[in-house]
Structures are given as structure tokens and as C-alpha cells.
Amino acid sequence: MRKYEGSAVFNGIAIGRISLYKKNDSTVKRRHVADILEEKARFENAVKKAVEQLNNLYEKALTEVGESSAGIFEAHVLMAEDEDYRESVFNIIENQSVNAEYAVACTADNYVAMFESMDDNYMKARAMDVKDVSNRIIAILKGKTERYQSEGDELIVVAEDLAPSETVQMDKSKVVAFVTRYGSSNSHTAILARTMNIPALIKVEYNEDIDGKEAIVDGYTGTLIIEPDEETKTILLSKRHKEEDRRKLLQELKGLPNVTKDGRKVEIYANIGAVSDTVSALENDAGGIGLFRSEFLYLGENTFPTEEQQFNAYKSVAEAMGGRKVIIRTLDIGADKQAHYFELAKEENPAMGLRATRICLTRPDIFKTQLRAILRASLFGNISIMFPMIISVEEVKKIKTIMEEVKAELRADGLPYKDVETGIMIETPASAIISDKLAAEVDFFSIGTNDLTQYTLAIDRQNEALADFYDPHHPAVLRLIEMVVKNGHDHNIWVGICGELAADLDLTKEFVRMGVDELSVAPPHILPLRQLIRNM
């Protein structure tokens, strides 16, 4: 048994046989030619054939994956017929008296170099289209015909990367998973996998000797397991069964409200940490996004994300959720989440240090950029803003002042925005205890139970030595929650829970009794919660 780790772009579990996809050998030899006209004619003929092939692929893709995906082949036709491209090929043939294959390869290399020099990943991805078209023409010139041959019924297609022209030729009824060495979550393979509803992994550093071997793709952990032993197979198959059960549950529960038998309604929203998580939120029928962690924009970067980068991310999520509520939590950096360019001083006790809103209020420039981006994105959906780590009314008032400044700046810049609902996280004992005062200042509360528990019990949850002392259902925490709900309702604002306790099925009944209005949980927890509430 061998394991390879990669990252999953679509989840699910598939068992099958590896089918290693090798691209045609596209290396070309430089050959001197005497008859330049003949060589140019060979190129013209090859282009004609390529266009014929591409038109067929377009027709095939049109019926299989629809017009928007098929459109790429129309673009490929235009590339094959492009005047500049032809001129470049002709020039090389003429000036160097070389064969058409070599001239096409050189031309392709030049275009690839042009796209790859652009400082944008999307632009770099364009190089692949040029290569794909050029390789098609070269293959025709070399007299090679079509390539992909699959044997067997349940194939895990493994490749360096896959182009649309390659996947469209596969017999997709036999493909159970895709695994690539390169690619991104926006790549063609990822999109296709989502359409086909099969697992797909990228960035897997496989060895070519895996071809033909039995394997499992685990799209939940991003693992490719070659020749799995019986135990592993059993574990993963049971995981798959659970997944199938969940899908069945989904079919039964999709579109139904989260209402108890005596008519109490609870909103169930999703916690997400990246734009792409909206897929799984929608798949699980989330009523909205209850916690959009904005940290992913800051972590793992070398510099602050620009307003545009943030705007695009917030806008994408708002649009994807199509009018359902999207609650964006502002920057929660600090403590265990560090980004070096913030240049935060090392702290003795970072959990209680300069973090989250405290950073925002200390460095309003960082805060303002984020607020501008969120407010601008608010036009594209139903966005709310939520501020973490609050301990006082003064903080909330300062935040509101900054919000007003940002709005004035946007107006001055002529940039439109909407007034959005603003709320705070209740995750410090201080904020829970003064929640009656805080409730007068905001539109909603969202209780962050992870930090609230840690601060209330003075227990670091990561510290295993304290396991015996740690009680996740400690009455102190539950009392604080009940108090927050009551204070919120007394001021006519809604109160939700977005920490781990929200997904704790042992507490759901208690939360409903308290009158909690919203539970925000990781997407896979949504339907089990809905089921439980509907049976209450």
C-alpha cells in the first residue's frame, strides 16, 4: 500500500484502477527542407484537419457538458486559424528552411512564454490552450491519430494535467475520479469533476509505476491510496456508505424548513473559510453563510490583500449565495493565526494578546481596506458584517465611527454601497456579561463558543493534559449563552451560535429551548441538524 497526498477539488470516495494518461510525444525534430511551399501547404492542411477535429469536439462537448464549456473549442479553432500564428509559422519555415512541425513548436513556445511571463495565474493558465492547439497540429503533421484509450470499467484517470480536448474524448461513463499533478481549483479538470460529481485531486506527486494498479481516491482528505489493504478499503467503503446516506438524507430534507413540531424555526447557516466552500454550503442546503472567515485572504500571503482582491472574494461569495445572508467576519488574525507581514510582536500569552478587532482598532488602515471591500461587495448580495473579540461598548462605538468614515470616503470616491446589518461575536465572558449593553448597539449577536469556553473555563483546549478538567457542556458556558440570548431578545435583535457547540446534537434541544435564532455549522452538519430539529 502506498499513499500520495494532494489537495481535493471535489470530494467523494472512488475505488478503481489507475489509468495513466500520457500525452502524445510532442517532441519534434528540426529538419531541413528544400521545398518551402510544400512545407507551408502541409501546415495549411494540418490546420484544416485540426479545425475539423475541433468542430467535432465542439459538437460532442455541446451535448455532454453544455454550451459554456464547449465554447473553448470554438476558441481553439480561432487560435488554429489565427493570422499572427500562421505568419509566425510561415516566417520560421521560410527563414530557417525547416519543417512545419518545428515551426509550429517554436511558435507555440513563443506564445507560451508570452503568457507565462504575465504575473497572473489566470493568464498563465492560457499557455495551456496554446500548447493544446499546437500539439494537435503537430500530431496531425506527424500523422498520429487520436490518443486516449481506456480499458476497464472503473478508471481513476491520472495525468500531469488535462486539457478540455483530452477529457472530452474520454468515455466518461467509465471514469470514477481524476488525479492530476498540476492544476488548480479553477482548472478545467476541477470544474468537470464537479459537473460529473466525482472526486478529483490536484497537486499529487505520483510515480508513473502506479499505472494499472488498484487504487482509492479519498476526496475528503485529498489522498490517493495505491493497492490499499483490506482494512483501509473497509474503512473507506464505510465512509462512502455514510456519504451515500448523507446524500439520501439530502434528497429527503432539501428545501424543507428547520422547524420543530411545535412550530419553532431555527436558521441553519454554514461556516466557511474560502470562496470555494460555497459549493459545499449550497450542496448541503445552507440557509446562508453564518460565518465567513476572512482570514484566508491574509494567511499564507506575503503582503496585505488589496481592496480589489478582497472585494472580488466577498462579491463571489455573495453572488454564489444568491440573496441568502452572508455574514463576513472581519480580520481575526493573532493568537494561533499569524501572518508575518503584520509584524506583530511576540507575545507571552497570544490568546489574550493583540488580535482580531484589537489589531483593527490599533491599525485602522488595515481595517478600513477590509471595510471598503465588504461595503462595495454588499451591492452584489445580502451581506452582513460581524466583528470578533469584543469586550466593551467603547470598542463597538469606535468601530461604528470608523464605519462611518469609510462610508464617507466611498461616497467621496463615487463608489456605491449598501447599508449592511452589523453584529458582533460574543466570545469573551466580558461581552456575554454586558450583552444587555452591547445589544443596544448592534443588529445581531453570534456566539463563538470555542473561545467563550476557553476563556470561561481558563482551559486551553489544545492542551491534552487538561482533558479530564475540560467539560464542553460546562453549565457556566450554557448559562452565559442563555443570558446572551435573553439580552439579545430583550433588545429585539437576533442571536446565533457559530462555534463548535452549534453542531453538537446533544445541545440542540437546549438551544432551541433558549430561543437561539440561528446555528452556523460546517456544511456537513447542516442536514443532520435539520433532521433533528424537525423531529423535536
Binding site: I72, E74, A75, L78, F115, Y122, N312
Partner: protein, 85 residues
């Protein structure tokens, strides 16, 4: 001559598929169609030329149309750009 400006909304900028649609549209007219971005110009009847401009999301392009059928061409190009980018 006709001119229009447009701010790209497609998150991937001008990539292959929409570039293809613009070229197909431009080729139906006798007028010359030129896209200008960041001081660079590209013939809209050539797909590599407009892809090579490297236009990203939120950037503004200008499209110039000149020729006997410029009225109709400008109208068609504008629709194609608005619907696909």
C-alpha cells in the same frame, strides 16, 4: 469611428472563450475593430492578439470600430462584450 469603453467583470479577465466570441463577432464585419488596453492595441479579429493584452478583471478596455458597417459592428461588439465579460 465608433468607440466604447468597458470594465471587465469576468474574474478571469479576457480568457480564451470570451476572446473567441469577440473574434467571431468582429470577423462578421468589414470594419476594423481594435481593442486598446494599457496603451497597447490589438486587432479584434486575432484571438492571440487580444489574449496577449493580458486584460484582467476590473480593468477598463476601449474598443474602436471603423468602417462602412461601423454602426452595426459597434452595436454587436458591445453586446458580445457585455454578455461575455
Amino acid at each position: 469611428m465608433k468607440v466604447f469603453n468597458y470594465k471587465i467583470k469576468d474574474s478571469e479577465g479576457i480568457h480564451a472563450r470570451p476572446a473567441g466570441i469577440i473574434v467571431k463577432e468582429a470577423k462578421q464585419f468589414a470594419s476594423t475593430v481594435t481593442m486598446e488596453y494599457d496603451g497597447k492595441k490589438a486587432d479584434c479579429k486575432k484571438i492571440f492578439a487580444i489574449m496577449g493584452l493580458g486584460v484582467k478583471c476590473n480593468e477598463v478596455i476601449s474598443v474602436f470600430i471603423e468602417g462602412e458597417d461601423e454602426e452595426k459592428a459597434a452595436e454587436a461588439l458591445k453586446t458580445a462584450v457585455e454578455n461575455n465579460l
